[in-house]
Symmetry: C2
Subunit: 659 residues, 2 copies
């Protein structure tokens, strides 16, 4: 090890002091983890991690994920000490203050050195699995010269207690992701107190059961830490290293207890820690020799980066690699055109999940970055195509992941894949199971990651599986989420458009809500009408009195309603709204033209009516389902829940005062 | 074993034939699991399960949970064959048809013999953990004479792959729930194909790591099944029995493959299976001798039930037991009155999470059925009281569960506890982590279970932890869910009222969204105003032009806005709306009086504005947050996001055309 044990200890203490001082000034934050894991992090950064502080986006850098995101000061300290342009010491001084990039939990949109946003426990770990998977896939595609890096994680007891760690670790074990190394902060403390209050498991044995390699080390002994990490690095299985640590190490009166987990130490204990550590420098000043030791750590990575650039310059796949990493999908527009052209005039009745598969056949053939999968519903989600063979070791060049029955793990892994770059992940489950992975969808939105969720069986139209499988509130609840696009196409044409839009959104995740049941083709033009989120699908024949707004499988019903009204002399337009979010982003005049104030506005959607007043006003009519579904064939359910033209037309007439 | 191997085989075949015939007639459903697990279920029911078909609600019955709910025909067959009043053979003939109690997945609201609704994988298992926990707790309270039963689960590979099984099994292992026995349908098949497509773990080793006892058996050998179950029964740890089975056993050409998992076998294969099994009876007719063997199985349970009734009749705790099992909480009203009386005139500024703790102190002292807990946020959720000591083996009489960092597992366990009866569970986490347990909240609503979620830190008011921890869309997304009450009290008075209302709702789950930050007491009367969901908190001084609607911590802001408007001659009322769902259930005239059409209606809530147009119309004003939050002190965030009287008043004036 180039640094002496004394140097390493001082370097680790720099982390400790920065963490406790920043939390103390903010009077808010979590000093315990950074102080406890300072030694482990110092060994990792000084000896193992491949990073170049001058090039935080270098594609072949190692990825470091702080899954225990509450210990954010550990990461901020590391980035600052090793010489990243940000955070500055001023940023750290403003820890947890408005506009400081040093937010309470690390945010990838705030700092380039933060690979992903963490805080919701277990998800950093699961995103790291996605990163490690993307790395192996890109390695298979581009070779060792361009892609050859590791993924490192620091995880706490909470990360390993959350259910998602089971899914993520099982997937990583199955896929043999040997370049994934998880450093577990084994401090035996959680917020409530000792871990023994709530858990008795043998975590090492559990990880071995997943096919992982497990090491144990003294998390305050640099030599032992280095030994364990080297052993993990040299094993071809994913590795868990149990780092036995003392939470809050260095705070003499509070260390080892949950008192040090989530609040400032207090001035007295900060002073006591300074004395204990022999640290005389004032807050936010790092002694020059210690800072120099930290700053020296970037040199090997900088050299590796230069060598990598040289290899890239001469590499035959240089252009393809650049395209993949840029993520702009130059083949997208052409592929969508090809699909439309190949479709002919009358594609017939087809479920939008099947339409999605037809589109995916063309898209995945044209766009090698697309990497699909499903949480064990491949045949139902229609997510597998000819171009996407199974990704299974050693065939990491496959482009289809059998994620297993792991919705949350899948969604979080896809976040990690998108953030890693070079791949565009999409994955399928039933819409109702968006509940299982909901916070990972939210995390995609927070992180501005292009992840596409193919969520089929999007209403009572799934039929006999009944209420536990029938989404009701899911469309509304996803639309309420900031930064997410919820697409619900009405036919094969809109399905193709929605796929094109979702793929074109480089900074936003999307949900495609797709029908199980067959739907007719409603449009035959080539204009990309879904781009504005909603459009007039059908004009009124008689003078306009009603505008019907519908999505997905209910657009067909709206058309039937409009036809019946028009036949009775009541002019009715139909607006198809495949994406409410995109519609809300249009200018007011355009929106007002589509949804004018002088007509009765009626929404039809086989889900909760909650939220539809935004478009219909509170004096409109909202047809939907505000209770749980039922088990029966789909057509009977539509009838039972009154979602038919026969049931709706009289209610509209009644509202208009027409008998 | 009283039945011979030949008899048992024929009895199991009755399940197989009923399952394949019902699925065939419905042309929808899952024959594979019922046919594969028929032998195991037959042994369980014939030899181990304590049940009385004439008394499905007998409190001391064993609980049987079909966690792999897609195999619903297994359960329907068992209930019918053993002689429960329902389902009838006609019900089974109408499997998966509208109004048949034999829904696609088992629904506890449809059939008394269905202990819980299952289908979303892993949750039946986790509910069973809650049932087993309730059993031990009630046993500690009432003794062996009244409470002495087991909880049995059939789980599939999917249940054991979902993250929630990790949380549930870890909790069960930690709590030493030795009366929980999980029969794992180890058929090595999932929907996508062989389990080896997506998993490589050693499940038995993983369960041992949780502290479970693990057995293995040939799932088609009655003798071996009985041996394994007996060993599990006699072990004092929770047990997993890996039952090696052939999925679809009996369908000669399809068994053992995923083709038999989720669709009808087809007429030809049904005929082939009949031949294979030597089953000549027509569909839905059970040969009399086989039916007689099945019907005989209830006799030991009926006798045990009678003996239990005798013990109950003489038991000193008979009355208390009846009160607990009825769940009516006779002490509730008095406890709420006591709390109100003890509060005095001015309780001062107090966070509603703290107010909740104050209410809970009184409630838990008065209501012994209340059983609390938190997912490792005890000090933040303020869920522990003096009356609720830790529940930890062997002290099962404790009333506070340290659930660990297991939100989903906690929520599902609480569902199981509520469904078991005798306890009223409540548990805490941060509101943002409702995402982690969302489908279990939904399952509480579907199952009409009284489960109370204490969800604190309910807005940007949590401050520095930042966007990953700040709920934005959560209130809206929970309000969109049918059958759930979302309470967001504004002060300590409303907090007490909301607790009373939540506890009084015997058939609905509730979420209490509570503030981290201190809030003033806004009301001093004794009227239970929250009962109608909303009420006029402040009348207008000047002629009314504006009605402000707010919830929780923003009611204080609405009052300041109203005061400023009134001072300027613009009459402004304030409506506090602690529960939108209860408000929507009031008669139209009452609602219209509170929210009239001839005024500007303005909503103020520190969350997504989505859904608020329901109350303000689309021509009202909606103040909220439609982006992710930020990391900073709470007060600064309210200012930054424009949720202050100073920011809101001018916008209302502008809308009214007043400069």
């Amino acid at each position: 090890m180039p640094q002496s044990p004394r140097q390493l200890a001082a370097m680790a203490d720099a982390i400790r002091v920065l963490a406790m001082d920043a939390v103390q000034v903010a009077n808010s934050g979590h000093p315990g983890m950074p102080m406890g894991m300072a030694d482990v992090a110092t060994v990792l950064y000084s000896r193992f991690l491949k990073f170049d502080p001058a090039a935080p986006r270098w594609p072949d850098r190692d990825r470091f994920v702080l899954s225990a995101g509450h210990g954010s000061m550990l990461l901020y300290a590391l980035l600052h000490l090793t010489g990243y342009a940000a955070p500055t010491i001023e940023d750290i001084r403003n820890f947890r203050q408005l506009h400081s990039p040093c937010a309470g939990h690390p945010e990838n949109t705030e700092l380039e050195g933060v690979e992903c946003t963490t805080g919701p426990l277990g998800q950093g770990f699961a995103m790291a699995v996605g990163m490690a998977l993307a790395e192996r896939h890109l390695n298979a595609r581009f070779g060792d010269a361009l892609v050859d890096h590791r993924t490192w994680v620091i995880a706490g007891d909470g990360c390993l207690m959350e259910g998602i760690n089971h899914e993520a670790a099982g997937l990583a074990g199955h896929l043999g992701l040997g370049r994934l190394i998880v450093l577990w902060d084994d401090n035996r403390i959680t917020i409530d107190g000792a871990t023994s209050l709530s858990t008795s498991e043998d975590i090492a044995a559990r990880y071995r059961a997943y096919g992982w390699h497990v090491e144990t080390c003294d998390g305050h002994d640099a030599q032992d830490i280095a030994r364990a990490i080297a052993a993990a690095r040299d094993d071809d299985r994913p590795s868990l290293i149990a780092c036995r640590t003392v939470i809050g190490k260095g705070a003499p009166n509070k260390q080892g207890s949950h008192a040090v987990h989530g609040s400032a130490l207090g001035a007295a204990e900060v002073a006591a820690a300074r004395a204990e550590l022999g640290w005389s420098a004032p807050p936010f000043e790092i002694p020059a020799d210690i800072l120099a030791d930290w700053r020296a750590l970037g040199a090997p990575g900088a050299a590796a980066h230069l060598a990598w650039q040289d290899r890239l310059a001469d590499h035959p796949q240089r252009a393809a690699f650049a395209v993949a990493m840029a993520g702009h999908l130059p083949a997208l527009a052409g592929a969508v055109r090809d699909f439309r052209a190949g479709l002919g005039e009358n594609p017939g009745k087809v479920a939008t999940r099947k339409a999605s598969e037809m589109v995916l056949e063309v898209l995945t053939a044209a766009i090698p970055e697309m990497l699909g999968g499903s949480a064990d519903l491949t045949g139902s989600n229609n997510t597998r195509t000819k171009a996407t063979g199974p990704l299974s070791p050693p065939a990491y060049d496959g482009r289809y992941v059998h994620y297993g029955i792991r919705e949350f793990g899948m969604a979080a892994a896809m976040n990690g894949m998108a953030l890693h770059g070079g791949v565009v992940p999409y994955g399928g489950t039933f819409l109702v199971f968006s509940d299982y992975c909901r916070n990972a969808i939210r995390m995609a939105a927070i992180q501005q990651a292009r992840v596409i969720h193919v969520m089929t069986h999007d209403s009572i139209g799934l039929g006999e599986d009944g209420p536990t499988h029938q989404p009701i509130e899911h469309l509304a609840s996803l639309r309420a989420m900031p930064g997410l696009l919820v697409f619900r196409p009405a036919d094969i044409i809109e399905t193709a458009e929605c796929w094109a839009l979702a793929l074109g959104e480089t900074n936003r995740p999307s949900v495609l809500a797709l029908s199980r049941q067959n739907l007719p083709t409603l449009r035959h033009d080539d204009e990309m009408k879904s781009a504005r989120g909603a459009y007039r699908l059908r004009a009124a024949a008689a003078p306009r009195r009603v505008v019907l707004i519908a999505t997905g499988s209910e657009v067909e019903i709206a058309l039937a309603v409009a036809a019946a009204l028009d036949a009775g002399g009541i002019g009715a337009e139909v607006v198809s709204m495949p994406c409410a979010e995109l519609f809300c982003e249009q200018e007011a005049a355009w929106r007002a033209d589509l949804l004018p104030t002088d007509v009765l506005k009626v929404s039809i959607e086989a889900g909760a009516t909650f939220g539809w007043e935004r478009f219909t006003g509170s004096d409109g009519l909202n047809f939907g389902i505000d209770r749980f579904g039922a088990s029966a064939p789909a057509e009977q359910l539509y009838d039972y829940f009154g979602l038919t033209a026969a049931a709706i037309v009289p209610q509209i007439k009644a509202r208009l005062g027409i008998s």
